[in-house]
């Protein structure tokens, strides 16, 4: 297990991970209650459901699963009194390469998730909820299921929760090894017992037609956990931790070539990439230099060491001006990374040093996407496989002069031509590796 630093790094602010990896902290309900558990739920029951939705909006909580959609806005698409059943499905299908935060919440602090979920359900008039856990977390499924039973026995779930008159049932649903099920409409198809082919948009949100064609919210584990803390802290204090439009803390999962890989919970926008690598994570291994960073899960476009970005910033006289920002000065928040042409995504930061071969790395990712394409849309089913075949051949036999051009052509013809965002996810690595490291492809031509 990755353990947290015994005392938080000055850049860290542990809200979600406050009790995780703490000696003596167990996933049972007695431990949770001894640490102030379910107090936020009691507070939420003194509020009106609409007030809770407004609070989450005011907190500027963005989804922590990868797409970064504002959670309060997502919730407000649900019409509280439309007479239809509503559902919340928690996306615990954590499988974006580079991301490893939800695993620790599920294994070590399941009641934090359940408490957040009851509050979310109360706010949106939901009485039946599922937690979709990938089957590669078999222990987590048992732990969460056990926590649900404990919560029910104590009156935090079931009928008339804490005398509020509000009813909620939660069940655990296990996936079966397919990355595509992290896409929210694929996840719903999977939960309906079908082949998990993502649904055609529109409707653009499951909040319109979701599980069983009823209004549904799909939120990531970490997102739901934040709800509990928004209730206890209030929207002002919570949102102040982050930047405007990106409130609270975000868990950065750092892997690859750093001295201290691990997960670090940091206020949104509270750290630059340079500080994250060289300060929080202890720097690169001895004698190495930085080569590349994938900042938000494997689908996020790669960044090259030494890159300089032109960022729009407000000058002293209030004008918007271009400011040159070197890679290591990039702030790790949603808007800065977007301005740098990539994304904060799921918070999975992969660091590569000068010993890494970028064609090899791209080939590894291409094989991942070729394996995980669900096969519904032709451009993605064929294209992801061809990209993988080409980079595998480059590794085995060397490149042909046209390979880089052909790879780009394949990728360009997937992105934007598929039902779900997997098309972009599988094209962006190829497009960005080719654009940022053309020399590595050229030198392989035989």
């Amino acid at each position: 297990m990755v353990s947290l630093l015994p005392t938080p790094h000055p850049k860290e602010r542990r809200i979600i991970f406050g009790n995780i990896s703490k000696p003596g902290y167990a996933p049972d309900i007695e431990t949770y209650l001894a640490h102030g558990g379910y107090e936020s739920l009691k507070k939420a029951f003194t509020m009106k459901p609409g007030e809770i939705v407004d609070l989450v909006k005011a907190a500027n909580l963005r989804g922590r699963g990868g797409a970064g959609f504002p959670a309060g806005a997502k919730w407000s698409f649900i019409k509280y009194d439309d007479g239809k059943p509503h559902y919340i499905v928690v996306n615990a299908d954590e499988s974006e390469p580079g991301t490893f935060k939800d695993r620790y919440i599920l294994h070590q602090d399941p009641h934090q998730l359940i408490e957040g979920l009851v509050i979310a359900a109360f706010a949106t008039n939901v009485h039946l909820s599922y937690i979709y856990i990938r089957c590669e977390f078999p222990k987590a499924a048992k732990i969460v299921w056990n926590a649900i039973k404990e919560a029910r026995a104590k009156g935090f779930l079931g009928k008339n929760i804490l005398g509020s008159g509000f009813d909620l049932d939660i069940y655990v649903h296990q996936g079966a090894g397919a990355y595509i099920c992290g896409e929210e409409t694929s996840l719903l198809e999977s939960l309906e017992g079908k082949r998990p082919y993502p649904r055609i948009k529109p409707p653009y949100f499951p909040a319109v037609l979701g599980l069983y064609m009823k209004p549904t919210i799909v939120n990531n584990v970490e997102t739901i956990c934040h709800v509990k803390h928004i209730i206890s802290m209030g929207a002002d204090e919570y949102s102040r931790m982050g930047t405007p439009g990106d409130g609270g803390t975000r868990t950065m999962c750092v892997s690859g070539d750093v001295v201290r890989p691990g997960f670090y919970e940091i206020p949104c926008g509270g750290v630059t990439l340079g500080e994250l690598i060289f300060d929080v994570c202890g720097g690169l291994k001895p004698g190495r230099t930085l080569k590349a960073v994938i900042p938000g899960g494997s689908s996020a476009k790669v960044l090259r060491a030494g890159e300089v970005f032109k960022m729009k910033v407000k000058s002293e006289d209030g004008q918007m001006i271009d400011k040159e920002t070197p890679l290591l000065d990039l702030v790790m928040d949603a808007s800065s990374l977007q301005a740098a042409g990539t994304m904060v995504g799921s918070g999975g930061v992969m660091i590569m040093d000068d010993t890494r071969d970028m064609v090899w790395a791209l080939n590894n990712l291409n094989q991942f996407y070729a394996h995980e394409s669900c096969g519904q849309c032709t451009p993605c089913r064929e294209g992801s496989l061809w990209m993988s075949k080409v980079t595998t051949r480059i590794m085995d036999e060397g490149a042909k002069p046209d390979d880089a051009k052909n790879l780009k052509n394949i990728a360009d013809n997937i992105a934007g031509r598929t039902i779900c965002a997997f098309g972009e996810a599988c094209s962006w690595p190829t497009q960005s590796f080719l654009a940022k490291f053309p020399d590595e492809f050229e030198k392989r031509v035989v």
């Binding site: 297990m1 990755v2 059943p85 954590e94 499988s95 974006e96 390469p97 580079g98 991301t99 490893f100 939800d102 695993r103 039946l128 990938r134 089957c135 590669e136 977390f137 078999p138 222990k139 069940y171 649903h173 296990q174 996936g175 079966a176 090894g177 397919a178 990355y179 999977s190 939960l191 309906e192 017992g193 079908k194 082949r195 998990p196 069983y212 999962c253 750092v254 892997s255 690859g256 070539d257 890989p261 691990g262 997960f263 494997s298 999975g348 992969m350 590569m352 890494r356 790395a361 590894n364 990712l365 094989q367 991942f368 394996h371 995980e372 669900c374």
Partner: protein, 175 residues
């Protein structure tokens, strides 16, 4: 050989039936939602899913067998053949590969007597399995533990920060 001749549905126990009914009750809106849970239950109990399993689950959920078969063949987790008693799933994806997971998989294969060049072709085929039936070794995609790479999921247990020299001792624990 006799084992493959017998059909799994003839060996359903009252306990298994009770568990199946319990799982179906978790989906009050649509029974079909119980297809994955019942397939997990079946595979955990019998080791793999034969035709009788597909048919039994379909009948239980008031579906046609193809509705279940198309699910079984989609998901990498489900098998139509028996695998080893211990299944070693080594993570293949980037962070683990950077930390040496390709060598780790090879070492696992060598330690349990499997040809490292063998790979499953998917579609329900069992992963490469040792001739004594004790071990299967396969690559899987990201196990979401990139900070402690390389990792493997051995049955229900996640093993982290695997050094090549640890592999024989890890295997011994499952012999």
């Amino acid at each position: 050989m006799t084992e493959t001749m017998t059909c799994q549905a003839d060996a359903i126990t009252p306990e298994l039936l009770a568990e199946a009914d319990e799982l179906v009750s978790h989906y009050p809106v649509s029974k079909r939602s119980a297809s994955l849970p019942l397939l997990h239950l079946w595979q955990n109990h019998f080791g793999f899913i034969d035709d009788s399993g597909v048919e039994w689950i379909a009948a239980k959920l008031e579906l046609t067998p193809v509705n279940i078969l198309e699910v079984v063949t989609f998901y990498p987790w489900f098998r139509r053949e028996r695998a080893g008693k211990t299944i070693i799933r080594v993570c293949r994806t980037l962070a683990c590969a950077m930390a040496g997971s390709y060598e780790v998989r090879e070492k696992f294969c060598q330690s349990v007597g499997i040809d490292p060049h063998c790979h499953s072709h998917g579609f329900g085929e069992a992963p490469p399995t040792s001739s004594d039936g004790n071990f299967s070794v396969e690559f899987v995609e990201c196990l979401a533990s990139c900070g402690s790479a390389p990792v493997a999921l051995i049955n229900d247990e996640l093993v982290e920060n695997i050094a090549l020299s640890d592999v024989p001792a890890i295997v011994d624990q499952y012999k």
